[in-house]
Symmetry: C2
Subunit: 360 residues, 2 copies
């Protein structure tokens, strides 16, 4: 098809305290008593009864705490799938991800790999998934990545960092409860929020843009400016609005793509394990040439919130290491094409990326 037939999240609940409705949402989706709901929960919530006591557990349902300290890996997906298959006689009734982009992407990937043969790495790319995924639910506890609404699940594999982009990837159900984001540490709040902001800059200045993606991107961009530059928003309003910015920012990618910052940040993550949010910020900070207005505003936001970025993370890397990052980055052709047009290879050389990485 010339225009993508975009699969939207089928159901969405928005509201402070809507997490309490999880039981009502899941009950009709239980296949039978032997088909459990498996919850992937960010391990920062371990022992946090305020959240965990509200997770409904019956029969063989299980909470699986997962660290989000590292970016999600294809091998991690394969291990989680194997654990589930070995433990239960039946396929789960559903996979519920409760966390940030890492946990949500793992929930999406595992729900796909439970019904598709082979290994997760085989599906990194575009439209390689054949069978519908297991019912999967996304409940973000930090806002910005857009993982709750996107058609991808970004994984680091043996050869590359690349998403499983497919019609079967989006969640069947999302619960947007901004109250769940109340304890996010400030730096993480900023870096993850900036993921949304950077999405928007990349999408709105990209060559792929159409009116659909533009309208979502513009709204997310406006919300980010309101949240990160203006004063006077209450804490609750700020949480509510950032959750919507993340949602619209994710939707803006429907007929668009991210760009230079994401392409280069994937290189950092692949080699150094840099988390996605902070990685985007480290890269974006050096991209005046490509996004002059966006980077200027980003620097104003950093200053306003007194955010310090790590310096010199690439300066001691060997040429071999830098070349690995350049390989990962330059391989993300749709991102470069969106950013710079069909002739992007005229602007983007290995030397150019080498010089940019050296500054980070």
């Amino acid at each position: 098809m010339s225009f993508k037939n975009y699969p939207m999240v089928s159901r969405v609940i928005f509201g402070r305290g809507s997490f309490n409705q999880l039981s009502d949402v899941l009950q009709p989706k239980r296949l039978n008593t032997k088909a459990p709901f498996v919850y992937f929960v960010d391990d920062v919530f371990k022992g946090n009864a305020w959240l965990t006591s509200r997770i409904p557990l019956s029969y063989d349902d299980e909470i699986c705490y997962i660290s989000a300290d590292e970016e999600p890996k294809t091998s991690q997906v394969d291990e989680l799938v194997e654990q589930i298959i070995l433990k239960y006689k039946e396929k789960p009734s559903g996979i519920i991800g409760i966390g940030g982009g890492t946990i949500l992407d793992l929930a999406k990937a595992v729900s796909i790999m439970l019904t598709n043969p082979g290994e997760a790495k085989d599906y990194q790319g575009w439209d390689l998934v054949v069978n519908p995924a297991i019912y999967h639910v996304g409940i973000p506890t930090i806002s910005g990545t857009g993982a709750e609404v996107s058609r991808t699940t970004v994984l680091t594999g043996p050869d590359k960092k690349l998403g499983i982009n497919s019609d079967h990837t989006p969640f069947d159900q999302v619960i947007l409860d901004p109250e769940l984001t109340k304890d996010v540490p400030k730096a993480q709040w900023f870096f993850t929020g900036m993921d949304c902001y950077i999405h928007c800059v990349e999408s709105l200045t990209g060559t792929y843009l159409n009116a659909f993606s533009q309208s979502y991107g513009e709204k997310a961009f406006e919300l980010c400016k309101e949240i990160f530059l203006e004063d006077g928003l209450s804490e609750n309003d700020s949480q509510d609005k950032l959750m919507m910015a993340s949602w619209h920012g994710g939707m803006s990618i429907a007929y668009s793509q991210v760009g230079v910052a994401h392409a280069m940040s994937y290189g950092l993550s692949y080699l150094l394990g840099t988390k996605h949010g902070i990685g985007n910020c480290i890269v974006f900070n050096q991209l005046e040439e490509f996004y002059p207005d966006g980077v200027a505003l980003f620097k104003t936001m950093m200053k306003k919130h007194d955010i310090q970025l790590p310096q010199g993370i690439c300066k001691d890397l060997t040429d071999t290491e830098l070349n690995i990052m350049i390989d990962v980055s330059i391989g993300l052709e749709p991102l470069w094409e969106n950013a710079l047009g069909k002739n992007w290879k005229k602007t983007i050389t290995r030397q150019k990326l080498y010089n940019l990485y050296k500054k980070m």
Copy 2:
């Protein structure tokens, strides 16, 4: 549930010329050769080969041309359902609506009534539909009502004008091809566009509003201002943006409601058959008291586009007739509560509505 679990349109295509993809979209949805696709097409397109030659017809598929001169009726839905049941041995593979709000609402209602017993009037209200509808596709050819994305299908019944609001109402698939709106006459373009604008004013000033609905409503409102107040948009961009305004305006109702203009406009439609778009404009023009800023901007837009509203459509009505309109209008409690809060009955008396109608 305290917060609505909002059903989103499962699939959406946006793009100029995307109507050409209809065949690819429908093909996998054909149940068998005896289960046809039934197309409800606005009869303004009868003989318009530019559009109709692109409607894919195989086996028993059928185009049913329908006039949108009148607002859709529950009796009309029942007749269409009966025709389909009598004509075909099997239930259709799908109902495809190609037109404005009237045609789209008929397509939604018929797809519901093909799988639910009784008459359409029995389902006017909130969450009365039990069985999932037949697969249904919405393809708007005019922008503004938001019918392509909403959870309702508004019908005039024997007793009331009220929507079938249900989780089974939204389309399974929407194709947003702004090119299909290129021949909309100017007055209709304006009145239908104003339906979106008025939605936004009612939603954004309403008491039900939350951050979800607000973000959609604000974007639709901005787009309306750009389209109807600014100069310099190309015709294509204007069509693209109005289609997105309609989409976001419809979404803004998810956790909100319309308000005074819609409540009173339903009265006009019920008694006089006034079309929804122009009816909203006639009412809204008299609502400075409730929406001072919104009405001021509306008047600027009318002036800029040299739009004349019909005058004195109620001045010769008898008290009996006016009372019928007041009954229909005042019965729409959620709309009044959204507009004016729980104590709306203190402000809205029968006399007040009488006086307002008399001015129209």
